[in-house]
């Protein structure tokens, strides 16, 4: 057997098998080789000294016996193979616990490049607790696999190679760990040992007995066969990367320096290389501890190195916070890559050919690359810390789910993007957009596309059809070609015929090795269609839950036009695919972990498109499709809820369904179901190979570990599209998930993405942005409202938008109420702050801030909620409900008949005149402010009139001067605020609103109905301002429509009251309404009408998703932490379809908390992020900062302290 081993060809490529003189012999050799490999493991175990490995050499069995024993155990091997692994796990568990090795039990399997254990097994072993989640996969038993691999009937056996010579290198500073003479001399063969200090079963070097006269100086040289089996517990690589060497008598001579041993150990652990024919070049005649020894090492690459044994460990349970971290698999890949790079450098192996990687990586100098690699290896302290912190939660969170992800992204601040950076990133991707070709949609398409939409259609269509057919012959951009160097002096063993193509390929980015030519291929047939805002900060995300839709650029329409354009998969593409598949049977890229599962049963082909959208948008898709194409052109099925049982039938039935629309929720649950199922249940979603998959609002999957993301990766289709308003929400990594879904190699490999984008970006390396630009250039089409076409016209001509912010002043009373609340909250805050308890009482403080924000809107919003001082305000509210209104006509009649309580007849006469004047004149100038206003009041008895503001402030002034309130015109006293009569005018061409219980009483005699009403409703500054504006608009445009946003539904209630008082028609929209009710409200509002209509909307419920272009006035009653949310709300009105100028007015009260909210809005990007989210986690530093702003009285706009 040793003879066989010795004569194994250094390299044997699969396609050269035929060149072997005796295929049978070849096969046998191979079996032997493979067994030999595993024997090491078996023989090593019984032989190992129990604990101290450093003493091992003395006790080691003679090499010959080990070989014999190997023969003996050979037969047992087959049955033993799998149990071995479990044994090891147990062993590990028996070890004395070490503090840092808490994870140890999980680790063994991970880095185990055991020949016979493939990735499936690894997963199983790693997570025994997860076992029930997995469908029982047939355990591949090693011997059959071996046979299978050799079975000539198997279409493409994996490449079979031998350990191949890679090169030789000199270690000049190996150091002795023993002193004395005669242990070693130049020319001696040495054995290299991988040291496992904590493992009782340190590897034993098996010494081959074959002689090799070529290498040594006539000395007999032993072949060293060393394979570190990683089924032996792999240690923490950083700690145990010790490599020792021994002389032929098995006495340890010394160690390798850490610089070398680190990568050596790593590669040995991973079964990538082994060392053979290592000799001492020079050493001092008498060794001392630490003496330098010069060694020559020959490196051989193991066949297993070329195995695609790398899997991304996607299934490992990970708490959401770890999203940023790499999975174990990714980490190990990275380490392997670094070690390989170090090896290649050490042995002086240079790529024969490396293709230019776009404009990015190729330009990196080798040094840069190393730097990059080093960087990736550096322990990232923050990560470790956060994972340590977070580990408490692990048990709780268990499997990641989409919701948890929300919490995740806040970790790495430095990875966040500013608007500017995003701009830069997108700029390039949009460079050539103006000159793009347009494409007409097919005839069935019922709508007209805008210019930019036609361009998009052309782009999308060519993304699907264009590039795919072309066969690219060039080397994959990320791979490098290496030539196996001929082993010097081994001429007798080299098969010269192999030389011409003994290449191998290395991917310096992922660390993968292969013998197959990695073809540059574009697997991604699809892209990202994006539009809208650069930056939508996080708070918006929660709003997504309610509803979401495109930002008005017509992604939906564009996608429908594409669905109509490319309805089947063209046969020529099919051929190309098959060709490609045949050539590349074994996918080399990462991320195919799922295919193991997926490929078991062939997926059913269909020509249907699968659209995945947020639940709230499912119906919108359906209606849009119906609207956009001629009847019956596209059959649509919304696969959601209880109707979703017969998807397969629907697909197969007759002509089948053209479009299936489902939600992320359904997708996720189907996926989990399939995953948990023991009976190999496979959801028809995943069983089907779709023609096209469209992810609407694809940022739902931006967290690559979330269920929806993983489910999405697992879908199969010919074409893939992601629609999103925000391809990058706030971190570059957001893009990763999209690329992964699109399978846009190589970026769909996480370690690659991380090494080349995330990490450089955090290091402020501009290259990261450059790379992202290149990527986006290829897959992304992004449109913004503000973009211009080639003629310099805006691609979307939207009417003007005029935004005004009104800073209002509180009335004195409001100011008093507000200030007292503020004082209370502030002292509360100061007290907590002084005691350092803010973090703990975070929610409490947030509640107080909310109170302040309500106080700004209307005092009763605060007081009504407080039991102790609620008396007045409660009454107000109650009173408001039965608004007493007196018809003017009635009043005049009463006066005419003398039916008044007022005294003198002259007053009566004046009153009559005044009232007549009122009735006749449309407008009257207020005697105090000299302006014409709508909110006139009448002073009872004398019937002088003036505007409400003026009289109220006059009365306030009287009170201040301790005078009795009186009429400013005639000084009639006493006069109280509540005595005043509001004059409410209604144009008579509109019938009284049904929701007003007052009767107009006018018999159509006058052109204007005037109603007097007691001023018994406690209004507020903001409400007054709103009503003023509404009335003014009504005068100018009698059938205007306006949208009023507020965050507080309780304030919406008050707005409703004032609207009712002034007889405005309104509709309300808030989160408590059912979808049906909401839809009805929107329909009623958007229906054309000759009366003014007001839409009272809760910002959270209606800030996104609605299309309210029938309105052109927007009122923002308050401000939100995040400006993006506000502009998002405004976009409900200011979007495609709007043809009037949009007027936006925001009401703010000066010298209140609102000014500070604005301040926070302006801080950095949206620091706001979760700053005020009030999640259980408590407060971070930044939110505390924000809180301090809220209570910073040194501000200019701070509340005046009393």
């Amino acid at each position: 057997m040793d003879g066989v081993l010795a004569s194994i060809l250094p390299l044997l490529r699969p396609d050269s098998k035929s060149k072997m003189s005796d295929p049978e012999a070849f096969r046998k050799k191979q079996v032997l080789f493979l067994r030999g490999d595993s024997e090491d493991e078996d023989e090593r175990r019984p032989q190992l000294p129990p604990d101290d490995t450093s003493l091992a050499p003395a006790d080691a069995d003679p090499p010959a016996s080990s070989a014999d024993e190997a023969m003996q155990v050979d037969d047992e091997l087959k049955s033993k193979e799998t149990p071995v692994v479990t044994d090891n796990v147990e062993d590990v568990n028996n070890e004395p616990p070490e503090t840092e090795e808490l994870e140890a039990p999980k680790e063994p399997a991970k880095r185990k490049p055991n020949f016979f254990v493939d990735s499936d097994d690894e997963e199983e072993e790693k997570k025994p607790e997860e076992l029930p989640l997995f469908p029982p996969l047939p355990q591949p038993s090693p011997p059959p696999r071996k046979k299978a691999r050799l079975d000539p009937n198997e279409p493409t056996p994996p490449p079979i190679i031998r350990a191949a010579y890679l090169g030789e290198f000199i270690v000049d500073n190996a150091f002795a760990t023993l002193s004395g003479k005669g242990n070693i001399k130049p020319g001696d063969t040495i054995h290299i040992m991988r040291d496992y200090p904590h493992d009782p079963r340190a590897p034993v070097i098996k010494e081959g007995s074959s002689s090799n006269t070529k290498n040594g100086k006539g000395m007999q040289q032993s072949k060293l066969e060393f394979t570190a089996k990683s089924s032996i517990k792999p240690m923490k690589k950083e700690k145990t990367a010790i490599m020792r060497f021994e002389n032929t008598k098995r006495i340890e001579i010394g160690r390798f320096p850490p610089a070398v041993s680190e990568w050596m150990a790593k590669l040995i652990d991973l079964d990538v290389i082994h060392f053979q024919g290592c000799t001492v070049v020079d050493c001092p005649p008498k060794l001392r501890l630490g003496s330098h020894i010069l060694l020559s090492i020959k490196v051989f690459i193991q066949p297993s190195a070329f195995k695609n044994h790398i899997t991304i460990d996607d299934d490992a349970p990970r708490a959401a916070f770890q999203e940023d971290k790499e999975t174990e698999g990714e980490k190990s890949l990275r380490a392997r890559k670094a070690a390989l790079l170090a090896l290649f450098k050490t042995v002086g192996l240079r790529p024969n050919k490396s293709s230019a990687l776009g404009k990015s990586a190729a330009q990196l100098q080798e040094d840069d690359m190393e730097k990059m690699v080093k960087m990736t290896n550096e322990p990232k302290t923050p990560d470790h810390m956060s994972s340590a912190e977070a580990s408490d939660d692990e048990g709780v969170s268990g499997l990641t789910d989409a919701e948890d992800d929300v919490a995740v992204d806040e970790e790495n601040d430095e990875e966040e993007l500013t608007d500017n950076q995003l701009n830069v990133i997108y700029r390039k991707a949009q460079q050539n957009d103006q000159s793009m070709i347009e494409m007409e949609p097919p005839a069935e398409f019922a709508l007209t596309l805008r210019g930019y939409q036609k361009q998009a259609l052309h782009w999308m269509s060519s993304m699907e059809l264009g590039t795919a057919g072309r066969e690219v012959k060039s080397l994959h951009p990320l791979w490098e070609e290496y030539i196996f160097p001929p082993e010097p002096g081994d001429d007798g063993l080299i098969d010269l015929t192999l030389e011409e193509d003994n290449y191998f390929y290395f991917n310096p980015y992922s660390g993968e090795l292969t013998l197959d030519f990695p073809r540059s291929e574009r697997t991604c047939r699809g892209g990202i269609l994006a539009d809208g805002k650069l930056f939508i900060a996080r708070l918006r995300r929660r709003a997504y839950v309610l509803s979401l839709s495109s930002l008005g650029m017509g992604k939906t329409i564009q996608m429908i036009s594409l669905i109509l354009t490319n309805r089947t998969y063209p046969p020529e593409l099919e051929e190309a695919d098959q060709e490609l598949a045949a050539k590349n049977k074994k996918p080399l890229r990462l991320g195919n972990a799922f295919e193991v599962l997926g490929d078991r049963a062939p997926r059913k082909r269909t020509n249907s498109t699968l659209i995945i959208a947020p639940t709230s948008l499912l119906n919108q898709w359906e209606t849009e499709i119906q609207r956009a194409c001629e009847k019956g052109t596209l059959k649509t099925l919304v696969w959601h809820g209880s109707t979703r049982l017969d998807l397969e039938d629907a697909l197969e039935d007759g002509e089948g369904v053209d479009v299936v629309i489902t939600s992320y929720g359904v997708l996720g649950s189907e996926w989990s179901k399939q995953r948990r199922s023991r009976t190999n249940y496979r959801s028809s979603l995943f069983k089907t190979e779709w023609l096209r998959i469209v992810l609407d609002e694809a940022h739902h999957t931006k967290s690559r570990t979330s269920i929806s993301a993983r489910a999405v990766y697992d879908l199969s289709s010919k074409w893939r599209w992601a629609l999103t308003g925000t391809p990058i929400v706030n971190r570059l990594e957001d893009l990763y998930s999209l690329l992964k879904f699109l399978d846009f190699t190589p970026w769909s490999s996480y370690s690659f993405f991380r090494s080349f984008i995330t990490i450089p970006f955090t290091k402020r390396d501009p290259k990261a942005v450059e790379i992202v630009q290149v990527i986006l250039e290829n897959v992304l089409l992004r449109r913004e409202k503000t973009m211009r076409d080639k003629n310099g016209k805006m691609i979307v001509e939207l009417p003007e938008k005029e935004v005004a912010v009104d800073y209002l002043e509180f009335s004195d009373l409001e100011r008093k109420i507000y200030d007292s609340i503020y004082g209370e909250v502030k002292s509360n805050f100061d007290r907590l702050n002084a005691r350092g308890l803010i973090g703990k009482n975070y929610t409490h403080i947030l509640a107080m801030i909310m109170k302040l924000r309500r106080a700004v809107l209307h005092p009763s919003l605060v007081t009504a909620k407080e039991a102790h001082d609620s008396q007045d305000s409660d009454d107000e509210i109650v009173e408001v409900k039965d608004v007493k209104s007196i018809a003017l006509e009635e009043m005049i009649k009463r006066f005419a008949s003398g039916d008044t309580k007022t005294g003198s007849s002259s007053t009566d006469k004046f009153a009559q005149a005044a009232l007549k004047e009122l009735a006749e004149q449309e407008e009257q100038e207020c005697r105090i402010c000299l302006t014409v206003k709508d909110d006139n009041v009448l002073i009872p008895e004398c019937f002088h009139s003036c505007c409400k503001d003026c009289i109220l402030s006059y009365l306030a002034k009287c009170r201040e001067n301790k005078e009795v309130g009186n009429c400013p015109m005639c000084r009639r006293a006493p006069l109280k605020e509540t005595d005043l009569l509001d004059v409410v005018r209604h144009k008579s061409d509109q019938s009284g609103p049904s929701n007003d219980d007052g009767d107009d009483g006018a018999e159509g005699s006058s052109s204007t109905d005037i109603v007097l009403r007691r001023n018994d409703f406690q209004s507020s500054t903001k409400l007054n301002a709103l009503m003023q504006h509404l009335k003014r608009i009504r005068d100018q445009d009698p059938c205007f429509k306006a949208v009023v946003f507020s965050q507080f539904t309780s304030f919406l209630d008050l707005i409703e009251i004032v609207l009712k008082r002034d007889r405005f028609d309104y509709e309300r929209f808030d989160g408590t309404m059912s979808i049906k009710q909401k839809k009805a409200a929107v329909d009623r509002f958007t229906a054309s009408s000759r009366k003014p209509k007001i839409f009272v909307v809760s910002l959270k419920a209606g800030g996104v998703g609605l299309n309210l272009t029938t309105a052109n006035h927007v009122f923002m009653m308050d401000c939100w932490w995040n400006a993006a949310v506000e502009s998002q709300a405004v976009d409900r009105v200011h979007r495609i379809g709007q043809n009037k100028t949009v007027y936006v007015r925001q009401f703010l009260i000066s010298r209140t908390i609102e000014g500070r909210i604005l301040k926070i809005q302006k801080r950095k990007t949206a620091i706001v992020k979760e700053a005020f989210r009030g999640r259980g986690a408590g407060a971070n530093q930044e939110s505390l900062e924000n809180l301090k702003i809220m209570f910073d009285d040194d501000d200019d706009d701070g509340v005046v302290e009393k």
């Binding site: 105090i928 402010c929 006059y954 400013p968």
Partner: protein
């Protein structure tokens, strides 16, 4: 501090539609400060005179009355040596329904009908009470001397 709409409107009206015998022009640098000229009412001892006054609109205007003062020396029982005017609407009887125009008309009316019973310049009031003719002559004399 921006100027309230009311002040702007009042100023416009004063300039475009001045009350007979009254002119009020705001300063360029302070629109709340007016140079006022009132012609002496016919039939009064102040006839023929042009009296200069200053008028200032305080911050709270129109909730507080404007401040008005004669700059021209005048012999009047309700106007003292410093030009201060004793007029109820400039004090407790002020109402925001009043305006600059009405205030100045009131001042003009005060010239026609001095009210020695509610004096500010007590000596002048005494003179008016004891010898109205003589007092009026002094007023006329002062008007000729200082107000023309």
């Amino acid at each position: 501090m921006s100027l309230p709409k009311r002040i702007i409107k009042e100023t416009e009206r004063l300039v475009n539609d001045p009350a007979p015998g009254i002119s009020a022009v705001p300063h360029d640098d302070n629109l709340r400060y007016f140079d006022v000229a009132i012609t002496g009412p016919e039939g009064s001892p102040f006839e023929g005179g042009i009296f200069k006054l200053e008028l200032f609109l305080p911050e709270e205007y129109p909730m507080s009355p404007p401040k008005v003062r004669f700059l021209t020396k005048i012999y009047h029982p309700n106007i003292d040596k410093l030009g201060r005017i004793c007029l109820d609407i400039l004090k407790e009887k002020w109402s925001p329904a009043l305006q600059i125009r009405t205030v100045l008309l009131s001042v003009q009316a005060l010239l026609s009908s001095p009210n020695p019973d509610d004096p500010l310049a007590t000596d002048v009031a005494k003179h008016y009470k004891e010898d109205e003719k003589g007092a009026q002559n002094v007023s006329r004399e002062w008007t000729r001397q200082y107000a023309s």
